[in-house]
Every structure is written in C-alpha cells, then in structure tokens.
C-alpha cells in the first residue's frame, strides 16, 4: 500500500480536529471539508487546506460522496479519514474511494458490508458462533411487517437504524400502540443521520450493561483487542459517560469477550479500528449487539489506559503496517470520559446552539479535552450538539472520579447552555460512584441528576445578584450624570482589608 502524504478528513467538529492532530504529529498534510455553516468551524481553521462541500444540511454537504471526492482530487489528498458518523460506515463510499485511487482509512468495503448493515451483521455473527440478542433477520419493508414481528417477539422492543449507530434512529417501544410513531421518528432520524432509513427491531433486554470491546486489525490477518469500555450511562440510547475498565468486568470476562470480539472481526476480514458492542445481562451473559466499523467517539479512554494513539495506528495499518504488538495488554489505571453537549437538561435536553462568549476548558494533571469549538465560535444548529469530550486518567477508579469532578468544576462555557452541571451530578451520584449502573440508570435518576439547590450557594448567588444589580444601576446613573463609572480606584484593597472582620463563614 502507498505511503500516505495528505489526509482529507471527511468530518467536522471535535473528531475532525482529533484526527488532524495526529496527522500533524506524523508530518502529514491535512485537508478539511466544510459546509457553508462551518466556514468558521475549528476544523476548517485547523487544517492546512479547506474546501467547501455544500450547504449546511449534511445531506447536501458532508454526506455527498462526489463533493468529498472532488475536494480530495482538487487538493491532491491521497487518503480519506471518515471520522465517525457521516460516511464512516458507508461501504459504497469505501468502494468509491478505492475506485478513485484514494486510501480509505478504515476497514475494506467487504467487512463493512458484513458488519455495517446491522441485520446482516447479526446473521454473520450467528454463523461465526457469536451470541446475539433475539431480533429481526432483515429490515422491514413496512410498519405492518414490523408490527407482526414485534407481536411474536413480545414487547418491549427496540427499533434500530440498520445503517448506523451513535443512538441515532433508535427508539424503545413499550406497546403496540406506540410502534407507529416510533417507526416514523426512527426512520426520519436514520435518514437524516446516515442517508439510509432502513430500520429493524430487537428484543429489549431489561436493564443490561452496554460494554464494548475495542479491536484492531491489520492487513496481514492479525486482530487484537484493546480491552473494554463501559458505556451504560446512556439517555435516549445516546452515550453520555464512558469508562474503562468497566466496573462490572472481571479479567476472566474481559478475556472471554475479547476473544469473541476478535473472532467476530476475523470472521469478516476486518482491518483497522473497530468496536464490537455487547449487552451484558445481570447474570453476566453477553450478547453481540452490533459492530461499529470505525473509530468510536469514546476512544480516548482506551488511549489513556493503553498509551496508544488509535488514530496513529489507523494510519499505520492503512499503509500496510503490521500491528505494533499482537498480545492483549492489561489496562493501566482507570479512565473516564464525559461528553459535553450544547443542550439544556432541564428542558428535556433541548439543543442550545449559539455563540460561545467565553470558554475555559479544564486542564492540569491527567486531564484531556477534545473540543471542536473555541471562544467566539457560534455552534450551528445543523449538527450534533456535542461540543467537547472531557476525559481523565488516574491510577484507580476512585481517583479518576475525583479528577473528573474537579475537571468539570473548572469548565466554563458562557453564552450557551450545556450539560456540565448534569454531568457533575451524574459522576457524583452514589450508584455511579459504586459502579453499579445499567442502561436504565439515567432515565430512572433523571430528576436527581438535574440537581438540587445548595442553600449556601443560593445565599452567595443572592448576594451576587444584589451587588450586580447595584453595580448596573450605579453605572447607569453615572452615565446619566455624565460621570465616569468611578469609585473603583483610590483606596487600596490592602488598606481596606483590615475592615474585613468576622461574619459569614462557610460551614
């Protein structure tokens, strides 16, 4: 395979920046593609070159294969990294890249065919002897077919998009009466997210854990696994917090799941980074859920505990390189990631696009921020509202929990509403602290995760609000009187500090 010199990243936001960071470290040139809504986006600014690929809606820009391929041709890129979402799991796009003589950084189209369409993946896994969740063999042509099958399987069931992952196009359905509207919503979301509205269904397992195995294959037939990630903290089937190691996985179970994941990947001739997702029930049986044939949003936690740059490995194997090592490695320490969204948890997680007036991201020991935004940037309302991924590492889970709390305390985003407080309440929740949470956790604890008032902070806020009002009113009066704002120079704080005697102390 040819040596890569210039990589076009067919994505936007944090993952585009993430991929370009590694390209830059490896001395590779980078090309961004951007929609009209992303002219000022960080990835457009971060790349060496940038090409506009169409109007704001993804269907008219990021999902238009010809526009992406034109941009590659025009800039002389020799490889395409798809990130996650968009065209990352589109086997047709992989074939188009092959035809255009471009290296697609991901698995071969054949592996994607076998795993990308979820119903086909299930059938292939059954053949390879991998346990699967009971469900459909193929997508349904009509809602009536779905209804008939669901009646046989028994409610509750899960409706899922065949064409992609990431919680998009997924709906839990409790009873037949809800199936039709869920069907419509799932199909519409699936179309807008993946350009493919095929939908299938699965038995809904009661409060399972969502645990996934990171695997990596090279073009020489080697496949290894890089341990698991616990992803059960989900709402609307959208992951919110991920960690590794999983608090519920023993080293025996890790080895068993790793072996199955490697077998699954090998059975389809997998090359590159991939993730095999499992549901783990309360008896610690595990079932194949789906395979994500691309880099995962939550890959940083795996990087923390293995020291591996997964994007660097992707580029390495895409150029025909052999995996740097072939034995499974034990996770070192513990890592937690939280996803920061531009959304308001108190209004049913309504997205909150808009201008970021001020931004201060956490840092310090063993804290990583993967952000796709910057101070002054306007978060557009066309794309996923995730603005950043915050991840931490520590020797133990308890220390990692303390660290992620500390880091969340440091996060300042002004101008738009984010879920930062919600995340803080989440990592402070006793069940989460004990590592005892399944996929129903966030739904059950929603009210508690919105948080309660701290009387001490309400008092501080009250004082602040009153002084603020007073300062505004003084300023106005000064302007009216034609005076300068005044009154803030003169006396030295040191000289006045003596006046600060006793008073209100924190308990």
């Amino acid at each position: 395979m040819a040596k890569i010199k210039k990589v076009l990243v067919a994505n936007r936001g944090e993952i585009a920046v993430r991929v370009m960071r590694t390209c830059r470290e490896l001395g590779l040139s980078t090309v961004a593609v951007f929609s009209e809504a992303d002219r000022s986006a960080l990835h457009t600014r971060y790349a060496d070159q940038a090409v506009c690929v169409g109007p704001p809606p993804s269907r008219e820009s990021y999902l238009v294969q010809d526009h992406i391929l034109d941009a590659a041709r025009r800039t002389g890129a020799d490889a395409i990294h798809p990130g996650y979402g968009f065209l990352s799991e589109n086997a047709g796009f992989v074939r188009a890249c092959d035809k255009a003589g471009l290296t697609f950084i991901g698995p071969p189209a054949s592996a994607m065919d076998a795993m990308g369409e979820k119903t086909r993946a299930r059938a292939n896994m059954v053949k390879a002897g991998v346990p699967v969740v009971p469900g459909t063999e193929a997508p349904f042509a009509s809602v009536d077919e779905a209804k008939a099958f669901a009646r046989k399987l028994g409610y509750p069931i899960m409706l899922k998009a065949a064409g992609g992952g990431g919680g998009k196009g997924m709906r839990r359905v409790e009873k037949e009466g809800d199936l039709e509207s869920a069907w419509r919503a799932a199909k519409s979301e699936a179309m807008s997210a993946f350009g493919n509205d095929a939908v299938y269904l699965e038995k809904f397992l009661d409060e399972p854990h969502h645990v996934e195995i990171q695997i990596f294959g090279d073009s020489h037939g080697n496949v290894i696994h890089l341990n698991e990630r616990e992803c059960s903290a989900q709402r609307r089937n959208q992951k919110v917090v991920e960690e590794t190691p999983s608090p519920i996985i023993t080293s025996q179970l890790r080895a068993a799941m790793g072996e199955v994941a490697v077998r699954a990947a090998k059975s389809v001739g997998y090359v590159g980074a991939g993730t095999v997702e499992f549901l783990v029930d309360s008896s610690r049986n595990f079932y194949f859920l789906e395979m994500n044939t691309r880099l995962q949003v939550e890959h940083p936690v795996t990087e923390w505990v293995t020291g591996i740059d997964l994007v660097a490995w992707q580029l390495h194997v895409a150029q025909g390189g052999v995996l740097p090592f072939l034995e499974p490695i034990s996770p070192r320490g513990h890592s937690i990631e939280v996803r920061v969204y531009a959304e308001d948890p108190s209004t049913n997680f309504m997205p909150s696009p808009g201008r970021i007036q001020y931004l201060r991201v956490p840092s310090g020991p063993f804290v990583r921020d993967d952000s796709g935004v910057y101070a002054g940037y306007t978060v557009p309302n066309f794309y996923d509202p995730m603005i950043s991924k915050l991840s931490v590492w520590a020797p133990t889970r308890a220390e990692a929990l303390a660290r992620v709390r500390r880091a969340l305390d440091e996060y300042v985003v002004k101008g738009i509403t984010t879920n930062i407080r919600y995340l803080k309440h989440l990592v402070e929740h006793p069940l989460f602290q004990r590592g005892n949470y399944d996929t129903g956790f966030l739904g059950r604890e929603h009210q508690r995760l919105l948080g309660e008032e701290h009387p001490e902070l309400v008092k501080a806020a009250l004082i602040a609000a009153a002084v603020h009002a007073h300062q505004l009113s003084e300023k106005q009066q000064a302007q009216v009187a034609g005076l300068s704002a005044g009154g803030t120079s003169g006396l030295s704080p040191w000289r006045t500090a003596g006046r600060r005697l006793t008073g209100w102390k924190r308990s």
Partner: protein, 175 residues
C-alpha cells in the same frame, strides 16, 4: 448617586416564594456592604473582562457569572445556577403600574430554537391536555416535541409541517 439601595429578590425555582429584601451599600473601591436576614456581609466584587465577577465575601472566594435581561437574572456560582427576579422599589412600582393588563389564561408555545417543523399534531379548536404533544421541531439532528403548557383549547396554529422556523417564532396558542 444612590449609595444604599434595597433590592427585592425572588428565587424563581421556588413557586409562590416570597421576595427577600437585600440592602446594598457602596463602600467604594469595589467593596459593598450587603445586609441580608439581619446579617451584614462585606463583599469585594471585582468585575473581570468578559463580564465574569470575582466575589470575595468575608474571605470566601466565588466566581460568578450572570446571564439575563430586564429584572430576571441567572446567577452561575460554583457550577450551580440560581435564577432570581430582582428589582429595587422604584422598579417594582413601575412594574406594578405596567401590569394592568395581562392575558392570564392565554399561553403561547414558541420555537425554543431555530429548526424545522416536522409534525403538527393539533388544529385550531382542538381541546388538549396539559403535557400533550403539539408540535415536533427538528434541530441539530434531534427531534424535540413541544407540549401543551396547560389544558385548554387551541386558538392559533402558526406551525406548518416542513417549514423552517426562527428562534422564538410563535407556533401554537392554547387558551
């Protein structure tokens, strides 16, 4: 300049809560004396660029941010948000005068953000329950259902399926 003013603040999280009086006196040099529940606090309030405030209250250090317009202000302190309706006596009198007419029973459902109307469930004349879905708006790849804020009758429907709407656009009126 009024160096000493009493403000009345109502915590918006507490329904039917009382307004708390807070007296603020400028001591100059960024210092204020604040009297609350009979206690006097000395407050050092430094306004930073970008509008954040560093507030030291009797040695306790707080980073405070404000967001709001008119008399409603959201105060962000140590990662928590508290919303107040706050005004001095003069403002309160003005507000009382302005509040002669208010359509008590009429509730407007507006677009909370720019997006696309994908579904309208009601038409003029429909009777709806509180919490019943009225309209689905798609934005940022998510579908968001807007619900009836009260039980009543739909009197206006401005939302149209397939059309784009701006932030704050009036969609439905329930009376």
């Amino acid at each position: 300049m009024a160096r000493k003013t009493t403000y009345f603040a109502k915590n918006l999280a507490q329904k039917n809560g009382q307004a708390t009086p807070v007296e603020v006196e400028s001591l100059g040099n960024g210092l204020y004396a604040v009297t609350l529940d009979g206690h006097r606090y000395e407050v050092d309030s430094l306004v930073l660029p970008h509008g954040a405030v560093s507030m030291i209250v009797e040695d306790d250090s707080y980073n405070v941010d404000f967001d709001g317009k008119g008399d409603e202000v959201a105060v962000l302190v140590r990662g928590e948000v508290v919303r107040f309706d706050i005004a001095d006596e003069r403002r309160i009198r003005l507000r009382a005068a302005a509040a002669t007419f208010q359509a008590e029973g009429k509730q407007t459902v507006s677009a909370p953000m720019p997006g696309k109307i994908v579904k309208v469930f009601v038409k003029v004349g429909d009777l709806v329950q509180e919490g019943q879905g009225l309209v689905v708006v798609e934005a940022m790849k998510m579908e968001n259902e807007l619900k009836a804020p009260k039980a009543g009758k739909v009197t206006e429907v401005h939302a149209k399926e397939g059309t784009a709407v701006e932030n704050g656009a009036k969609l439905i009126v329930v009376e």
